[in-house]
């Protein structure tokens, strides 16, 4: 491969001279163009600094958010996610385009600095880049520039002509952003092209004058430009050279100052945003960082009511949203027509920040978040499934923000009527159904009589606690899952007990619906009961309880989900399974959000299923970390949303499309939602749903 050889530094001027005058030395109608270079530089940097200072303003008023712990993990994340663009390929075509443009940008960044300096200092090159290294760099730079240019053109056509659905903006959220996207793509293209012409014109002139060996890579912009200009008169080339240079500089600084104005702010904020991302998945941030639980009772305000109640990191999240729509594309609430689209929470809050802390002029009047920027139903519609957070290439957090806003609503009493009764029941009875505490273990009556399970007391002990939680204890249908769990655990020889009436709801959804004080009450009661029982480990068949005990609670023995336990016992042959009963059925596993996405447990259930000889198992397109939420659990079962259809119905359709006839799930709430959906979509007889534990129970050889 021929290389473009250029001699750098002062050698050029003294040794061979150049065919064209550089921007640092040229003049325009008698005015030295270096003045323009300096002026553009100072003006550009100055405006940019001003913009950044204005953008930082709201963050100074925001709530605290400690994000500098675990620096090593943060550094690793930044490399993996921000630099190696780990999440981008989830949308393959767009992802590759973005990776190319991003990588190209990174490579060209050195060139950009060099170019700025070239306008002031003749023959400037970065330290270390004078000789061979510089030449090799130029090779990559030219290639990169061309690839970036090509990617930008493809991207622009894709955005402008093909207009993929996920970018569209429903009228109620404002106008579309395609114009801005294409403008930026053209600016980037402009940067590549102007540099290519700047180089190409120089090379063409050098060749014409016989100075030095200049062989550009054919096919790159530089190469093509050099080819086109090979016969162009030198005087024209001189003008082209200078015009290309100043075009580049103007575009460059315009682009730089354009970034903080909209969604392209993410170009600047992406690395810090990823570096500062949330590390502890699964739990929700405390009500206020720096405020201890005991102080919550008397604290002035609770939750997010106005914009400045958000933490500075949340505000940085709003700035970082690239408006790519990947989150909303996977949001189940958006899919069923609820008034929630995570992307627009970010965009609307960002726009409010821009309006309230304007770059110039007076700020708009302060507005409450709810009712003006965000709507109540928008906030209550979220099932906290985490699909949005799983997609976002910038690691923007949504659940914490929504929970914070819910906390604010709860604090002023704005709670949907449909949720008030279960919340009251949770407070009074420790379960959302309002059923009597002393009946909490009635589901296990027969099993207790058969000595299959015991209630842990002062004189009744066991190694393991089976944490049942409310729905399995009280719901007529779901009690069957509890009973199957008991039989399986017995069959596996596990020494376990239940808390019985002393068990309270895990409070998982109570916390996520913003009633933190009630959650703390339930949590503390459970922790006391668990510690008092003296168990060494905990098993649960309820992923919401699993997540709560594992991530929201502290100071209790380790927790496992029953799928993990069964996998172990099957592997160690404590559980033996007979071959599949119904060999014609096609099974598919539906990943529960709180087992899969939030806690990374995907394979245990699959391995358990596959241990049944002869089972036919297929995967749905949206599986594992892309599993589609069934509709939500806990308090979400009581909420009456505005929606066009049910999440469960869509999920049943997905199972049907995958060719399944039986859906296997590992969560009681998924069971309720999917069973309901099967009934209401008229698929009874064509689709079944069974819990993993029930499946094992059926096939277990005792």
């Amino acid at each position: 491969m021929a290389a473009c050889q250029r001699v750098r530094g002062k050698e050029r001027a003294t040794d061979m001279g150049t065919a064209l005058i550089s921007p640092a030395e040229a003049s325009f109608f008698g005015i030295p163009t270096v003045i323009f270079s300096v002026f553009i530089l100072i003006f550009g940097i100055g405006i940019f600094t001003y913009l950044i200072i204005r953008r930082i303003a709201p963050l100074l008023n925001a709530a605290a958010d400690p994000r500098l712990d675990r620096i090593m993990d943060r550094a690793k994340n930044t490399v993996r996610i921000a630099i190696f663009q780990y999440r981008q390929p989830r949308y393959l075509f767009a992802g590759i385009l973005h990776i190319l443009i991003f990588a190209g940008f990174v490579i060209i960044s050195l060139r950009s600095i060099t170019l700025v300096m070239l306008g002031i200092f003749e023959g400037f090159s970065l330290p270390g880049f004078e000789g061979t290294l510089g030449n090799i760099y130029d090779l990559f730079k030219d290639l990169a520039g061309t690839i970036v240019f090509g990617s930008c053109i493809i991207a622009a056509i894709r955005r402008g002509f093909f207009q993929p659905e996920r970018y569209s903006v429903p009228p109620k959220y404002g106008k579309g952003h395609t114009g801005e996207a294409i403008l930026v793509l053209f600016m980037i293209s402009g940067l590549m092209v102007s540099d290519g012409i700047f180089e190409g014109s120089f090379i063409a002139a050098q060749i014409q004058k016989g100075f030095g060996i200049e062989i550009p890579i054919p096919g790159t912009i530089t190469g093509i430009a050099a080819m086109i200009f090979i016969k162009t008169p030198l005087s024209s080339l001189q003008n082209i050279h200078l015009v290309a240079y100043f075009s580049h500089e103007l575009i460059f600084f315009f682009f730089l100052c354009f970034l903080p104005l909209g969604k392209h702010f993410h170009v600047i904020t992406s690395l810090p945003n990823v570096f500062l991302m949330k590390l502890n998945k699964g739990t929700v941030k405390p009500v206020k960082w720096g405020v201890a639980e005991e102080e919550l009772e008397t604290s002035e305000s609770f939750g997010v009511k106005k914009f400045e109640d958000f933490t500075w990191k949340h505000m940085l999240d709003f700035y970082s949203c690239a408006d790519c729509g990947r989150c909303s594309d996977h949001c189940p609430a958006t899919a069923v027509g609820r008034p929630l689209s995570p992307r627009f929470i970010s965009i609307k809050c960002r726009d409010y920040a821009f309006d309230k802390y304007p770059l110039f002029g007076a700020s708009i009047k302060e507005r409450d978040l709810i009712g003006h920027i965000l709507e109540e139903d928008e906030i209550w519609s979220c099932t906290t499934c985490g699909a949005c957070e799983e997609e976002c290439p910038l690691m923007i957090e949504y659940i914490d923000k929504i929970v914070d806003v819910r906390r604010g609503l709860v604090d002023v009493g704005i709670v949907p009527q449909s949720l008030q009764k279960p919340l009251g029941a949770l407070e009074k009875r420790g379960n959302p159904y309002g059923k009597m505490e002393r009946k909490r273990a009635d589901w296990a009556k027969d099993l207790m009589a058969a000595n299959a399970v015991k209630i842990l007391k002062k004189d009744v002990k066991a190694d393991t606690l089976y944490f049942v939680d409310s729905i399995t204890s009280y719901d007529d249908r779901i009690q069957a899952i509890g009973q199957a769990a008991v039989r399986v655990l017995c069959g596996a020889g596990v020494d376990f007990g239940i808390l019985g009436p002393a068990e309270k709801d895990s409070g998982h959804e109570v916390k996520r619906f913003g009633e933190e004080m009630l959650f703390l009450q339930l949590r503390d009661q459970n922790i006391a009961s668990i510690r008092g029982s003296g168990v060494k480990n905990i098993i649960t068949a309820d992923p919401h309880a699993f997540n709560a005990l594992k991530n929201d609670y502290n100071g209790i023995p380790p927790v496992e989900h029953i799928s993990q336990v069964m996998k172990r016992h099957i592997a160690s042959e404590k559980i033996h399974l007979k071959p599949i009963e119904d060999s014609r059925a096609v099974y598919t596993y539906h990943d529960p959000c709180y087992l899969g996405r939030h806690n990374g447990v995907y394979d245990a259930s699959r391995e358990v299923m596959d241990a049944i000889a002869g089972i036919k198992r297929v995967e749905m397109v949206k599986c594992r970390d892309r599993s589609f939420c069934c509709g939500g659990g806990g308090l979400m079962l009581f909420y009456e949303p505005i929606e066009e259809t049910r999440m469960g119905r869509l999920r049943v359709e997905m199972a049907k499309e995958a060719g399944a006839t039986v859906i296997v799930t590992a969560c009681p709430f998924c069971m309720v939602n999917i069973e309901d959906a099967i009934k209401t979509t008229g698929m009874e007889g064509k689709m079944e749903v069974i819990d993993l534990v029930e499946l094992v129970d059926r096939h277990m050889i005792v």
Binding site: D411, V412, Q417, Q420, L423, K428, G434, E515, E516, M517
Partner: protein, 263 residues
């Protein structure tokens, strides 16, 4: 506008099966949880909304033993400004009218423009509002599902009547209204809200404080007395169809056909 709302502490009947105790003297109260009577809660919410619109204050009053205090406090956590607790041994076993005499005495010690009660409570009597109005000689409207303040002397109210229709009336203040469920969407009262009012003072008044002679209330003043609680025999009731689902379905369809239920 000075608004007074009468609230009552009642057992939560939602999921709980109310049962008669062994000797029939009362319902089985061991496992019961209590809360504010649902209708009264709607009334307090309405009072708070009116106050927020036109100014003034909302006072909640309850007659009962120590336990009544938690209900008053909860409604204050909701947004009521003041609470009054009427408690005296002499008040026990009062009938409806006795209860109303107690409220009347307390009301006459204050100065209110509007008094709200719930349409009914756990005993299904629905009497407090109407009786109170007659004793105070104030106008009354029951089953109110809409309130509009016209000026400080007049309000417009809607009453729920048969067929889902609404009867619109104009009423002069001061007046008494009994409030129907569904008039508004009561706000939520969280644990934090209740803790915030935990140390607010709620004055307790006995018979002598409100100038009420004990023989007008309590057992001696009562004209209605409860003899016992019982659950009536199901008697004839329905003929429950037996058998497995298939058999029941067949029988049911036969019956439906014969009665002309299937066209």
């Amino acid at each position: 506008m000075e608004i007074l709302v009468c609230v009552k502490r009642v057992p939560d009947t939602a999921e709980n099966e109310i049962e008669v105790n062994k000797d029939g003297s009362d319902i089985e109260r061991d496992d019961l949880v209590y809360s504010v009577n649902e209708w009264d809660n709607y009334a307090v919410e309405e009072a708070i909304q009116i106050r927020d619109k036109v100014g003034g204050s909302v006072t909640v009053v309850s007659v009962g033993g120590e336990e009544a205090e938690e209900i008053i406090r909860r409604e204050m956590a909701m947004g009521a400004d003041k609470g009054i607790h009427l408690s005296d041994q002499a008040f026990e076993e009062s009938d409806g009218k006795g209860l109303v005499r107690i409220l009347q005495a307390a009301i006459e010690k204050g100065s209110y423009d509007l008094i709200l009660t719930g349409v009914q409570a756990d005993d299904g009597a629905g009497q407090v509002g109407g009786m109170l109005a007659a004793m105070l000689d104030w106008p009354f409207a029951s089953l109110v599902n809409h309130i509009e303040v016209i000026n400080d002397r007049t309000i417009k109210v809607g009453r729920e009547i048969a067929g889902g229709n609404q009867e619109m009336n104009e009423i002069d203040l001061p007046c008494v209204l009994s409030i129907q469920t569904g008039i508004n969407e009561p706000r939520y009262v969280g644990i934090r809200g209740i803790r915030k009012v935990a140390s607010v003072e709620i004055p307790v008044f006995g018979a002598s404080d409100i100038g009420l002679s004990p023989d007008l209330v309590g057992k001696s003043g009562a004209k209605i007395s409860r003899v016992d609680y019982f659950v009536p025999d199901l008697g004839e009731g329905a003929e429950i169809l037996e058998g497995d689902t298939g058999e029941i379905l067949e029988k049911l369809i036969e019956i439906l056909k014969s009665k002309g239920g299937i066209k």
